[in-house]
């Protein structure tokens, strides 16, 4: 990686105690030995990137359940990163954690090795929700975990919640949000349940045993989430992300959304730099095999043309409260999106879905809810270039 904006580093830890029925990430179960062997390989993969020119200022342990790694394993990884790669002085380190794994001791240990942000997979604050989502922790485990994390003095404690479960009413979800607010996290991620094929829920849906909420009900819950959390001082900044103040926003995730370089290590991890994306083999064993042979684990790569870059910018930009930076599109890609989509933008404006503010195309709350459809409506014709001559 070359010099430029500070890059992000993602480490994928694929292990989970059990596979959740909604999850379609690259995950697997594995015992302690297996996890240790995995870490050995992850260290070897870090070595492959030794001397890379990029400077990183975020390190994100995601998964999977990275909190299932032993503290010394996490420490080994961080040490290796510091010795092989260039990390900025104020590098922010994130760890996704299952409530079961959080205690006063583990939280203190994580703080000690330099974890700044703990992202807790609470998922639900009612027993019925937890059991539907196939989670093994209880509501009190979740509360205790948040309390312990806050006690340990992390810069940011974040909790993940899933809403829009079949039959989820606005009243029930509002109560659950209130419970979450009472826990005083500095950050909340509220993900609407998406049923993916290939998951347990996907199978149930196929069999007709599980029905998603109607789009209108989903929309109501979506609006409620944003209005309620914003009113409680947890300001939304993306479709599913809310922070008590700007400093608690996920600096790492922001890099995904604005074409900042990032390097992903571990199975299925994705990377981006300049106009290129690449990704590692998805399954853990083949990934390990490659690393063991001293080979790169990169399975695929793509080079983005301007159209793809602009579509990505639209797709991620319209998901954020800040909106799409039109000036950046012009300077970086030479594309004047508004010029080539005047009628569409006017219509979206008159429907109250977007506003043009300070050279940004900013979605309203109703617009955020239909960001995907809006993004795919734009005509992205590449600008005329000198290449044609």
């Amino acid at each position: 990686m070359n010099d430029g904006p500070l890059a992000g580093l993602y480490l994928h830890v694929p292990f989970c105690a059990q596979i959740c029925p909604y999850c379609d990430f690259a995950v697997r179960t594995g015992d302690r030995d297996r996890r240790r062997r995995f870490v050995d390989h992850l260290l070897a993969e870090i070595d492959l990137y030794a001397g890379c020119s990029a400077c990183f200022d975020t390190v994100y342990f995601g998964g999977g359940t990275p909190s299932s790694l032993e503290i010394e394993d996490l420490a080994r990884i961080l040490d290796r990163l510091r010795s092989r790669l260039s990390l900025a002085d104020r590098t922010r380190v994130y760890l996704e954690a299952n409530p079961e794994d959080v205690s006063a001791d583990s939280a203190a240990a994580w703080r000690r090795i330099g974890i700044d942000t703990l992202s807790l997979g609470v998922q639900s604050l009612v027993p019925a929700g937890l059991s539907f989502l196939g989670r093994s922790h209880g509501v009190s485990d979740a509360r205790d975990a948040v309390a312990a994390a806050r006690e340990a003095g992390f810069h940011t404690v974040s909790i993940d919640l899933i809403y829009g479960l079949p039959g989820h009413s606005t009243a029930a979800w509002r109560r659950e949000l209130d419970s979450a607010i009472e826990l005083e996290p500095q950050h909340i991620s509220c993900y609407q349940l998406t049923i993916h094929s290939g998951t347990r829920f996907g199978l149930l849906e196929q069999r007709g045993e599980l029905t998603q909420l109607s789009v209108d009900n989903q929309a109501s819950l979506f609006e409620l989430t944003h209005r309620h959390l914003n009113a409680a001082g947890l300001q939304g900044y993306e479709v599913s992300q809310f922070a008590a103040s700007p400093e608690h926003r996920s600096a790492h995730n922001l890099k995904y959304w604005n074409h900042t370089p990032y390097l992903g290590l571990g199975p299925a991890a994705h990377s981006f730099r300049d106009d290129r994306r690449w990704w590692n083999v998805r399954r853990t064993d083949p990934w390990q095999d490659r690393i063991k042979q001293g080979r790169s684990a990169v399975e695929g790569t793509e080079t983005l043309d301007t159209g793809a870059m602009v579509l990505e910018a639209l797709m991620t930009g319209l998901r954020t409260y800040a909106g799409l930076d039109l000036g950046r599109l012009r300077s970086r890609f030479g594309v004047d999106l508004i010029d080539s989509n005047l009628a569409l933008v006017e219509r979206l404006e008159s429907e109250g879905l977007v506003a043009l503010e300070h050279d940004h195309l900013v979605p309203t709350l109703a617009g955020l809810a239909v960001a995907d459809g809006m993004a795919s409506s734009f005509d992205i014709s590449a600008p005329a270039t000198a290449q044609a001559i």
Partner: protein, 599 residues
């Protein structure tokens, strides 16, 4: 010549014509048992599936009669639907006799009578045959009385048979030999042969089926088509077995095929007379009625890149279907297509199915229309069969639409319902008369346009299948014609425009609006769908805005995955037709347009 018999079988649909033909073919051993299949003369899939004959077909059978002589029996199979009566006429003109087939259970039906009149017009000798006598519901007494009263034939002459199990087939063959006349004609006269059918074969070119009246036709001869004046050198003549059997010559009275290096069926006018270019006849054989298109619809390919294929497919189709007409057409919503003329709705469906099946094309058809006569204020008058060409109403003096005389036969208990159906369809001069005890014929003068839309299906269902329908064209009559436009967010979708009587406009427009509302996906904004006559909205529905489509997660760093999803969506939108910034999927057009034929 005295050992030749040219005959056809005329019958109401489903009275067992194809099965009887099968049995005669089998009995004469024209086809090996192992090659036999049911409805052997119906070569198209659609014919077999629907149990109807669409194209005429001829076969020569060698029959050794009880008198020890071998006869050449030329069976000319004719279609059994009103849409294809032009083919029936040509076939009849090639025959001296006809087997009039009546179902022993259903008795004489609308088409039995219609075909009888046709046969009489061509002075054919008629041989009544009662089929399906093996059915438990067979009522030979009643059928006998119908043959006498409705057809005016002597029931004592009727042969009783069951084509299904073979009973009475021998008697029938003997009757064909002894009761039907041999053809007349002279081998010394100049050649006159009538073309009654033509098929396109990619390897052999156009194969003409013809009936020789006078003279002899043989390979090497140069023939002239008396109508068109075109001349061709004959490569081969032969008999129409199930496989072609080349012959040295075809003499008077014969039925056979002619190959003469003709490139397309369009070079041939069906019913034209072949004569010897070296020694032409002075008079052609009696003409026939030209098949006229009465139903029009525009056919579009689902994807614009299939336009060329559609064009080629139509070119090929008309090689075999001279009644199909087409010309280029285009729609802002659906792109380039063809405006096609059909003999009727069944013909339209047959063409559509053949294009889809034989050429693998996915198609959209606009609402079928009849041809209207529009008199303008400036004294000129025009024909309009395409809503796009409907003139500004302020320039129109008056409009006329084609009327038919419909004849519906059914058991008397359905009179009330059918009379109501005729009234609802703007029928006038509706009356009924008893054909026999319990059987009634209703006649009504109906606008053809009213019959195009699910009339036949409604009739069939309200009479539990007992009703039969036949019609003949009458004339054009004054009508209060309007053009209905369908607007999506205020912009007209030209492919959905249609012409209709003012009284029917609102219901038709509402039907379209509702169908569209069900099939157009929700957008980020509310979509208004309206039906309008000029500037007046007569029907409307709304599609509420889609309130949520955004996915919760961006899949971490896997932006590729999400972008691919959007790219797919974009691709999908590209394939939709955009009208008034509303993306209309093909399925919406299908749902709307298909319902006209199906519902």
């Amino acid at each position: 010549m005295r050992n030749i018999r040219n005959f056809c079988i005329i019958a109401h649909i489903d009275h067992g014509k194809s099965t009887l033909a099968d049995r005669l073919i089998q009995r004469c051993g024209a086809v090996e048992q192992r090659k036999f299949r049911d409805q052997i003369l119906d070569s198209m899939d659609i014919e077999r599936e629907r149990g109807i004959t669409i194209k005429s077909n001829a076969i020569t059978l060698a029959y050794q009669a009880d008198d020890g002589e071998t006869y050449q029996l030329n069976l000319i199979d004719t279609p059994g639907h009103v849409d294809f009566s032009h083919e029936v006429r040509r076939s009849l003109m090639s025959c001296e006799g006809a087997i009039l087939l009546v179902d022993a259970a259903q008795g004489v039906e609308a088409q039995t009578v219609a075909n009888l009149y046709l046969a009489l017009e061509y002075e054919l000798e008629l041989l009544p045959v009662i089929n399906k006598i093996d059915l438990p519901s067979a009522d030979i007494e009643r059928v006998n009385s119908e043959i006498e009263s409705d057809l005016g034939l002597d029931p004592a002459d009727a042969i009783h048979c069951s084509a299904k199990n073979g009973t009475g087939i021998d008697e029938l063959l003997e009757a064909i030999v002894h009761k039907l006349p041999a053809p007349q004609g002279s081998a010394d006269e100049p050649l006159r042969a009538m073309v009654f059918d033509a098929r396109y074969d990619p390897f052999r070119g156009v194969e003409l089926d013809c009936r020789v009246k006078d003279g002899v036709i043989r390979a090497g001869m140069t023939i002239r088509l008396m109508h068109s004046g075109k001349q061709y050198k004959i490569d081969e003549v032969g008999l129409l077995g199930l496989e072609r059997v080349p012959a040295a010559e075809l003499g008077p009275g014969s039925v056979g095929y002619v190959l003469a290096g003709i490139k397309t069926v369009r070079d041939i006018t069906m019913g034209d007379t072949l004569t010897d270019a070296a020694r032409p006849a002075t008079e052609s054989l009696p003409g026939y009625k030209e098949a006229k298109s009465v139903v029009f619809s525009s056919i579009y390919p689902m994807t614009t890149d299939e336009y060329l294929e559609l064009s080629k497919a139509l070119d090929k189709l008309v090689l075999n279907d001279a009644a199909l007409t087409f010309e280029k057409d285009s729609s802002a919503a659906l792109g380039h297509g063809f405006r096609c003329g059909f003999l009727g709705l069944l013909h339209l469906e047959v063409v559509q199915e053949r294009l889809q099946r034989e050429y693998g094309l996915a198609l959209l058809l606009s609402a079928p229309s009849v041809r209207y006569h529009v008199a303008l204020n400036n004294g000129k008058s025009i024909y309009v069969d395409n809503p796009s060409y409907f003139p500004d109403p302020s320039t129109i003096a008056h409009c006329e639409e084609p009327y038919i005389k419909g004849s519906i036969m059914m058991p008397e208990r359905y009179i009330g319902a059918v009379m109501e159906l005729c009234r609802e369809r703007r029928g006038v001069e509706t009356s009924f008369n008893y054909l026999a005890v319990g059987r009634v014929e209703i006649t009504s003068e109906l606008p053809l346009a009213e019959v195009l839309f699910d009339f036949y299906d409604r009739l069939k269902s309200m009479t539990q299948g007992y009703g039969s329908f036949d019609y003949e064209m009458l004339d054009h009559r004054g009508t209060d014609l309007v053009k209905i436009d369908i607007l999506v967010n205020g912009e007209p979708v030209d492919a959905l425009s249609q012409l209709a009587h003012r009284d029917k406009a609102r219901a038709r427009a509402l039907h379209y609006c509702e169908r569209l509302a069900k099939t157009i996906p929700r957008h980020q904004f509310k979509v208004a769908i309206q039906g309008a006559i000029g500037g007046t909205i007569i029907a409307r529905t709304n599609i509420p805005a889609l309130r949520k489509d955004v996915t919760a997660k961006c899949y971490g760093g896997d932006i590729t995955r999400k972008r691919k999803l959007l790219e797919k969506q974009k691709e999908g939108k590209k394939r939709m037709k955009t009208v008034g910034s509303v993306d209309i999927p093909q399925s919406a057009f299908i749902a709307v347009l298909k319902s006209d034929i199906d519902s």
